[in-house]
């Protein structure tokens, strides 16, 4: 892989949630879940996204795939614009989504028909907003995503599958909507996919509750593969699984990548598994990208103070190594992304913080070749020229 092709480019992406509106509809607080994040993912690689809970990893993935309305910045897939953000329309769309989730809360959990109908009704309203938005920002033609290109695998194998559908129905849903196969070929495709993810043909007629966590995660993967995607966003696909099952799923993801030339955005908080599976890794903290580098380089030579403490906090499965390894214990805890203060988001916990850190946002810059970090004093801290 000498000449690396960019498959996905995320440019200054923002996803802000607006909370607590007063009676005039004025926003009181803004939760900046993802705040000006940029990175690229190359064709065929695995890009790991790590950070503590609530730092914005999931939100980043969901905004890329369009499950959340983009509130700023652009996303390009295969050099084509697939998502462009605008505060105004994002607000309208969020309002619609809030309305929908309020209504859904009042509907019984197992009334899938009514739930689906509501979702459809609101999706149509939302689509109209999106159209308006696209026209407004004059990118109507290009800012459209082929829904098949990017698929997502979710963290919780228990809630991400509809309990009332058989495995075959779950896997074939997308195939039917997009008319990828018809007639008998649909079932053949389902069998093929089941076998690809290490399940059996007989499983096609069963329901999700008949499967273990690891097997359900395989069903989720088969559903994603059904669309022949180019990029799969894996949001903590192994966090809910037992150690011995995690390895099965990780190996399978690696095999599928080789076989189908897939590209992964792999979101996780288990840092040793992320290192194992990723080619490059981005480290997020409170909605910002703090550091980005090749995975070996990041673990070998972390430059950002946050990454340094994060990595040194991992207990190693090696008693002697733990005795000699140095820990940089962090004081305090991650704060909230609601109305964040100006300056470096990490300043409150950083032992190197100086006045400037509390007033000026550090830029995300290339410090060493292909190694980026956002810290005012990164060169001094690491004795770099």
């Amino acid at each position: 892989m000498n000449k690396k092709e960019v498959l996905l480019e995320v440019k200054n992406l923002k996803k802000h949630f607006y909370i607590k509106k007063n009676i005039l509809g004025k926003i009181q607080k803004t939760l900046k879940a993802v705040d000006d994040v940029s990175f690229v993912i190359y064709q065929g690689e695995t890009f790991g996204l790590v950070g503590e809970s609530g730092c914005g990893k999931t939100t980043c993935g969901r905004t890329i795939i369009g499950l959340y309305e983009n509130t700023g910045g652009e996303v390009y897939f295969d050099k084509k614009l697939i998502s462009a953000g605008s505060e105004e329309y994002a607000l309208n769309i969020q309002e619609l989504k809030d309305e929908l989730s309020l209504k859904l809360k009042k509907v019984a959990k197992d009334d899938f028909d009514l739930r689906e109908a509501l979702k459809k009704e609101y999706q149509e309203k939302i689509d109209i907003e999106i159209e308006k938005r696209n026209i407004a920002i004059k990118k109507e033609k290009s800012a459209k995503r082929n829904p098949r290109d990017i698929q997502m695998i979710f963290q919780d194998p228990y809630t991400s599958l509809n309990p009332r559908m058989t495995v075959a129905e779950i896997i074939s849903e997308g195939i039917k909507t997009h008319k990828l196969f018809t007639g008998n070929d649909i079932m053949e495709r389902v069998f093929y996919l089941l076998e690809t993810v290490g399940l059996k043909r007989e499983h096609a007629s069963r329901y999700p509750h008949e499967f273990s966590g690891g097997q359900r995660q395989r069903i989720g993967i088969a559903r994603a593969l059904a669309m022949d995607p180019k990029l799969i966003i894996c949001d903590e696909p192994i966090s809910a699984l037992d150690v011995s099952i995690q390895a099965q799923v990780v190996n399978m993801l690696e095999d599928l990548q080789d076989e189908f030339g897939l590209t992964y955005l792999f979101i996780a908080h288990d840092l040793s598994m992320v290192k194992h599976i990723s080619d490059r890794i981005g480290v997020m903290y409170l909605g910002k990208m703090m550091e980005l580098a090749g995975s070996d380089e990041l673990y070998d030579q972390p430059l950002h103070p946050y990454t340094q403490s994060l990595l040194s906090s991992i207990p190693l499965p090696d008693p002697e190594a733990n005795k000699i390894s140095k820990r940089f214990l962090l004081k305090g805890e991650i704060t909230s992304p609601i109305n964040p203060k100006p300056g470096c988001r990490f300043a409150g916990r950083c032992k190197y913080a100086k006045d400037k850190c509390f007033s000026e946002d550090p830029l995300f810059e290339e410090i060493l070749p292909n190694h980026f970090a956002a810290c005012h004093y990164v060169k001094d801290i690491n004795d770099l020229k």
Partner: protein, 373 residues
Amino acid sequence: MSEYILEVKNLRTSFFTHLGEVQAVRDISYKLKKGGILGIVGESGSGKSVSSLSIIRLVDSPGKIVHGEINFDGIDLTKISTKKMQDLRGSEIAMIFQDPMTSLNPVYTIKNQLIEVIMKHVRITKEQALEEAKKIKDLERQKKAIKRIENGITRRINKKEALERAIYYLKLVGIPEPETRIKEYPHQFSGGMRQRALVAMALSCEPKLIIADEPTTALDVTIQAQILDLLKKIKKELDTTIIFITHDLGVIAELCDDVIVMYGGMIMEKGSVNDIFYRPQHPYTKGLHQSIPKDVVGQKKRLVPIAGSPPDLLNPPKGCPFNPRCRYAMEICLEKPAPLFAISNTQSSACWLQDENAPDVEGFKKSGGVLSE
């Protein structure tokens, strides 16, 4: 006095559900030395929590200890009255759970909760009591008081003393400004601080044994590192014995002196932390090690997963619980679970490969067929 603070003998605990008997703990035995940290590691459902809850008799119904002895400091906990057990819980054995919110009452301040626990369980020491008795003017009464104290009866700690002690332990676990923060409600504490407050609560009665069930699993790694650091400090300074339950091998390696590996309600292997990490002798323990990445820079080793999935304890496989997933399984493995064979004086493995009649595959055979006592 024995050098062991806890001896669990042939413990079986089951849940009698409408689907049948769930055999959560199936005949486990171990001894725990004073003053160390014992790690219990295993996958979800392997019986880690139930075996530990059995010790303090907190297994939810329809669960019941079906068989076995639990000797704690000379008494069999399975035999004592519920009242006696309640007294021991908190004062002699304390528990820290995974989710601090379920163990803290949201409507009371941290102060109220800590003081209540302390006042319920703690009496002043003999020395303090004698000091107080000396101040009694009436010589006749003083004599009586001293006699009571000599007989081991001292008064309960009072509110002011309890508060002092609560603040002392909050400070010890690293809560900043404990004098003011103690007046707050649990929801005003962050996740890490709540877990610290629970550690303080467990410590405040100076128990002989603390059972911590995945106390860091819900926390981020940077906060987990703070709590592990705290537990190491406690072990060094307070000489408390800790049982630490986790599914994370990294945490075990970082914290524990001895390790028990559980699977399907049984103990698969026991040993010192170095035994379990550098000389594992059970196919399941080896499998676990190969399932986690241990890459060195520049070269990635493919993981070696354990095929299949953990057993259903409603219908556990006959014989060794690991047999459906074990590539060495022999005929006897399908018949009888293996006893613990002694590998060395610190290590034992419940695997038929250690039997004197077993073939020596891949250098597993180490024990010469001697059973662990």
